[in-house]
Symmetry: D3
């Protein structure tokens, strides 16, 4: 039984994320999807709550008819790199391999003795949370960049107006 | 679409919990299972990590072939009753009804405007986390009190020895 | 200009507290009333929020037509005795004298170089937050133990039912 | 009985703030003045403690002979937008309307179901905490930008030297 | 090069502690002495600050003319057993072996892959922090139970009066 | 008996730090060396843990055969300037004089009534933690900028690779 871990902020969960998850889940028996910076919401950088992000991912993966077991788990920041791996370990089921291209994440799990694997690349210019958030506030096309599940959740929670409200200038 | 929330510590997840979840999930379209006191582990009161408890519940529910969507989400304590409902709300998908018999939980969600429903009763003398933990450390019969998934996880993580180690007296 | 500080939990603000405040305010030009354990609420020990306690005190003192300047300021616990005096100092206006009979409070402010004065005694058997909370949940007479302002606030916030809900037994 | 809430950092409390408070207090029966970022002090951005800011506001409002009831309450940051409204609610008396031009504040209270009102505009180029702090450290004219109460408090606490010390370069 | 770790609260540092340290330091090249519950002070359970306890230990060991390298390092509690070993590891130099008879400490370091050794026994009825604190407040003989260094520090910081003040009853 | 305090981040401990410590220790009987931002590690700004920094300093000072008593104590940040002096005081032995050129540190200890002394100057262009970290990641000469003890620790903990890993770009 091989269990893998992948962590992202998913602000919002987009098709690049979905592509990666579908790829890496093939390499494991079960996949843990950690939602980083879980405590943040209602800012341009982190507009959606952990709960809303869980919903985006769950709905999107459901439409994909993935048969393998996965876990979607919020991981609040801890602001202490020495404790971060233990923090993650305590919140998620035991895992064997970590999928990440982030150098700090790779370093921290490597020092803790974990096996690290890179994640496949995709076009990060447009499949990017920041790009999508910009398009949302500028009324540009963004719907095609996210899975249907994400789109539905953003609609359900009135996410477009939340983003537009947040970036307004004080006066 | 009706989404319900139920919260427990699940130390460990036992057949009483399973009975309740199977009952209340019938009343909703989707069920959120919140794991309270998620930050605690390795004590007699809270021996298992949040990740281990997620695994117990996920495995146990899988054996039940439940078809409805459910979410298993760790909820760390916040030690501030005035903030607790907002804390829970930020970590889980939006929900409509809370299942609880706990007076404080009921009161806090009631003040926040939520609909509260009671959970069905079961024999809490023996289907009790404390009772099961006691039996484990005393080498008494406990396997029949927990679902197969819980049993497998406790075996996988060497949970019996962890519990026995923790309750040893200092000398 | 002599400014004094007095700190209490005020769960709820009762006639013993009022008696003390009216006495000690005579000894200073301005009085700071610190509300301790400000972060707690919705428990039997600490049923009322800091904001509700501010309201009780403000209303009660208004009925007394006190002409001297006073400040009512919430002080969350900090769980570190070495930092506590600095914590209090940062939250309240500068002060010259501390009124307290609590040995730890007296010791901590003494080590920090403050002048400490005792507060006048009153019947602490009945003028006691715990006694009043007990009477409320037992439907015994309590109205006469609190100033009018406190009574009005408890009524306004449905405080009786909150207390009764909180102490219910789980089942 | 209509109670309003207005929140600012008040570093320091200036005539723009005073103008706003005098306007909005006319629209309510009681006004709660929340002091944001209450835990910060001794930096250029936040030179004054919560207690010092309380004193500035209290003194300044006293000179204005305002007859309506107001509350001045420190509100530490919580760094979690999802919890912030509950955090504020727990620290202050119950309120009905929030006065703010800040988009995030407006959004968060709107999501929590509160009525929001804009605050009247004033010249924010010169009636600005940052502008006043700059003038203080540069020995430029600033006294006319703050109410008499603020000026007195800054003098009493040796605030000019504190600001000048803080912005010195390390060497 | 073998580095060992031993952790205690040292409230205060007594001859039992000294006996243990002199024994275990023989088994290693360097010894790290961690001061647990470092954030607490001014309570009967934890009367002395971390800094005061460092001083007691440093002075006491100096009188012993120990030639091996040792480190005395405060370790605040973290209230999360899953993070505790990482927390300790981040605060102290790398170590190879942990000396402890405490079952939880042993279990946590064992799960983290450390070698654990028991510490030699001594008379814990009288060489006990609690016993010494009781004797101090009751004006009974305690000087012989602590090393000279501890005694000097308690005198220097007026520790006897601090303890006596703290245990006074409120009235 | 005069005890002094000096605080630095020591990322890493370099010859400028060593020069200063050797100078200021001449002015006191005992010197406390506080390691600031103790909770941070594994970032370019703060690559080394508190424990690793303790080891660098201890080894480096040992090679210098300093005979006076010194204490090396980690001090986590507290993000509240009003509490910082009390925080430091609780973690270290009592002290009489603070050595610092940092304006905020000087101001905070001055407000708390401490005697402040400046530290001697050295070439801060090259004897600078940031400069050394840059040279390490760029494979430039840095060994001569740090004491032998620091060099040995960085080698022992594979510090060069840690720094190089951390500054890699995500892709």
């Amino acid at each position: 039984m091989l269990r893998g871990l992948i962590i992202g902020r998913f602000q919002p969960f987009h098709k690049g994320h979905l592509f990666v998850i579908k790829k890496v889940i093939e390499e494991v028996d079960e996949l843990i999807i950690g939602i980083g910076s879980a405590q943040f919401s209602h800012s341009f950088e982190n507009p959606f709550t952990a709960g809303e992000r869980i919903l985006m991912i769950a709905k999107s993966l459901k439409y994909e008819n993935i048969t393998k077991q996965y876990y979607i788990i919020p991981i609040p920041d801890i602001n202490n790199n020495s404790l971060w791996v233990s923090h993650v370990k305590s919140l998620v089921p035991p895992f064997d391999v970590v999928f990440s291209n982030n150098p700090l994440v790779r370093r921290l799990f490597k020092e803790a003795g974990y096996k690290i694997k890179s994640v496949p690349l995709y076009n990060r210019k447009i499949y990017s949370g920041k790009e999508i958030r910009k398009r949302i506030v500028n009324d540009e096309e963004w719907k095609d960049l996210v899975p249907k599940g994400t789109y539905e959740v953003i609609m359900e929670i009135d996410g477009i107006n939340r983003l537009k409200d947040i970036i307004k200038k004080d006066y």
